[in-house]
């Protein structure tokens, strides 16, 4: 123990002598007052101090490089599914952030070990160990339990027990397949319950037929597949308006039937049901954030935070006069997700 600390402790009236050992045997961490203080560096000369300063500053600057790299990666690295080198996007974000944090941390440690004033102070603490008889008692109980359970007596049982515990560790393996590249299955997100030829069922399960709707009429519809009315992503709306107000792009000319048009009702902003239809303005309105879509013009966004038009469901009429879907929506329904392609063609899936 350095004289300076002992002197200081005496000066403050504290008892610098160690407490008597409370347990049998050696003091668990030895006598802290007898250890010799090793200074990290002593007093550095001007040259060494300058070098240490450079090293610490270098680490801090490395942290700055990490931050800039993180921002640059975030802003410029291609991240969309299928882009060239997109798979490095997340690792690069991680690496640069690690660089920033580690640089700052390592710099701080080096700083403390070289340039900071190096003095020891004493903090009282209590012995953390249990009493020796308690330890022996615990060991005796465990041994007794093991003997009672027959672990020593039945080696096959012991081994199979250990094997089962080891096998439990394998449970984590399937979950690993949910991470990284294994999760990129765009189709599961892009598909709904609509199939080619599935009829449009209303909320009571009745198929909607041509002539059911008057001009200005609407109907919530669901696909005619097993469990279709419970498929949250498949909810759609069929609207009838005067054929002359319906603006149809050439590529979608076959998707409408005599002024009838069908759209997904899942808002492309955050997925609320867009079922507020105004029959005079032909607006479809989302009650959550006021996104407004023009049902007469391909459900184009007129207002609000939604970035994309509502997906359209191509419809036709079958031999018996019922509406049927020509296939799935032309693009994935609902809000964006990482693997979503930025553009989809006007084609029935």
């Amino acid at each position: 123990m350095s004289d300076s600390i002992r002197d200081r402790l005496k000066a403050t009236g504290e008892d610098a002598e160690p407490a008597a050992p409370v347990a049998h045997g050696e003091h668990p961490v030895g006598d802290p007052t007898t250890s010799t203080h090793h200074s990290y560096h002593g007093v550095l000369d001007a040259h060494s101090a300058k070098r240490a300063e450079l090293a610490v500053s270098g680490l801090f600057l490395l942290a700055v490089v990490g931050v800039l790299g993180f921002i640059a990666t975030f802003a410029f690295w291609p991240f969309e599914f299928g882009d060239r080198y997109y798979e490095w996007y997340t690792p690069l974000l991680g690496t640069t952030m690690a660089l920033a944090l580690l640089g700052l941390g390592a710099g701080a440690i080096l700083w403390a070990k070289t340039l900071m004033v190096d003095e020891e102070t004493v903090q009282e603490r209590h012995l953390l160990s249990s009493a020796e008889e308690d330890k022996e008692g615990a060991v005796a109980i465990l041994k007794e339990g093991a003997a009672d359970a027959g672990l020593g007596k039945y080696p096959l049982l012991r081994r199979s027990f250990l094997l089962a515990n080891g096998a439990l560790g394998l449970l984590i393996v399937p979950f690993l397949f949910g991470m990284g590249r294994f999760q990129f299955k765009e189709d599961t997100m892009a598909k709904t319950g609509w199939r080619k030829g599935s009829r449009l069922l209303d909320e009571l399960g009745r198929p909607v037929k041509l002539g059911d709707l008057e001009v200005g009429g609407v109907k919530s519809v669901f696909p005619d597949v097993h469990g279709g009315r419970r498929m949250a992503d498949s909810a759609a709306i069929i609207i009838r308006m005067r054929p002359d107000v319906l603006k149809t792009r050439d590529s979608r000319r076959d998707w409408v039937v005599d002024g009838h048009v069908a759209y997904s009702v899942i808002c492309t902003h955050l997925g609320c049901p867009v079922k507020l239809y105004e029959q005079q303005t032909h607006h479809l309105f989302c009650p959550c954030h006021q996104s407004t879509f023009d049902a007469a013009d391909g459900a184009k966004v007129l207002f609000g935070p939604a970035a994309r038009n509502l997906p359209q469901l191509a419809i036709a009429v079958d031999d018996e006069g019922y509406f049927v879907a020509q296939g799935d929506f032309n693009e994935p329904v609902g809000p964006s997700y990482w693997e979503r392609k930025p553009h989809y063609k006007d084609e029935v899936k």
């Binding site: 002539g211 709707l213 609407v218 919530s220 079922k275 303005t281 207002f303």
Partner: protein, 259 residues
């Protein structure tokens, strides 16, 4: 003489057959024809139409035109049907107070008889949806609830208190609507409301929805004591936050004061 007697008999027997046949026909008609209500009686109907026309000329023709041709501010009423008149007049929306984004509910200007007369007149112009006879609020409540939640609640709110639409328009609250107004609104699709034809929602289903709306807006009690406007989780959350957090803070202070 003989020939004279024969010709006279045949002449009288011809009259007798005609008279008998007419009597039989009249008797059969009276016996089998369905008894008619007062309103459906063509005589009363034509009186209602005449009265309705007088009311129309005084109160409506300025905008809708002397010959129903439409014009300054009002559409033609040919073919809109009696239901449209019942909805607009009974809910007080017509006559219009002023040109605005949308007509507002007001105290009705015409009483029930006058409304029916106006409706009969407009119906006589070119047909259109009519209010069905009989009670409209005897439908099946549970079915009505199902249908209301799918078809109506997106705009009118699940408790029927209405909500906002685009560009200063709104779906009105249903709390004051009568059975006829609810029913005819579905039939006619006033303003921006979609129209629910009898093929989209059958009369039975419309009655069920009418029943449900009347029940939920007028009879159903608020389970928590106060409805808070029945606007759902936002005001409820606010009250829970303010009252609940306030109580927690007070309790904390009390515990602290006792410690």
């Amino acid at each position: 003489m003989n020939s004279m007697g024969t010709s006279a008999r045949s002449r009288f027997s011809g009259y007798a057959v005609v008279v008998l046949a007419l009597a039989l026909l009249g008797g059969l008609y009276t016996a089998f024809a369905a008894p008619r209500t007062k309103a459906e009686d063509p005589a009363n109907q034509s009186i209602a139409v005449k009265e309705g026309r007088q009311l129309y000329l005084q109160g409506c023709s300025t905008c809708h035109g002397l010959n129903n041709q439409g014009g300054a501010g009002g559409p033609s009423l040919i073919g809109v049907g009696a239901s449209a008149v019942v909805f607009q007049v009974e809910s007080g929306r017509m006559p219009l107070a002023r040109g605005a984004a949308q007509a507002e509910r007001k105290p009705a200007k015409y009483d029930r008889t006058q409304t029916d007369q106006l409706a009969a007149y407009v119906q006589s112009l070119g047909g259109g949806p009519e209010v069905p006879a009989g009670t409209l609020d005897d439908g099946e409540l549970a079915l009505g609830g199902d249908l209301f939640r799918t078809n109506c609640s997106s705009c009118h709110n699940f408790a029927g208190v209405g909500g906002a639409l685009t560009r200063a328009k709104y779906a009105p609250a249903l709390t004051e609507a009568s059975a006829r107004v609810i029913y005819t609104a579905m039939q006619t699709g006033p303003e921006n409301m979609p129209r629910f034809s009898d093929n989209t929602l059958s009369p039975t289903e419309k009655r069920a929805i009418t029943k449900y709306v009347l029940y939920t807006t007028q009879e159903a009690k608020n389970p928590g004591g106060a409805g808070l406007g029945r606007y759902g989780p936002v005001p409820e959350g606010l009250v829970v936050f303010l009252v609940g957090m306030g109580l927690l803070i007070l309790t904390t202070l009390w515990i602290g004061a006792r410690a």
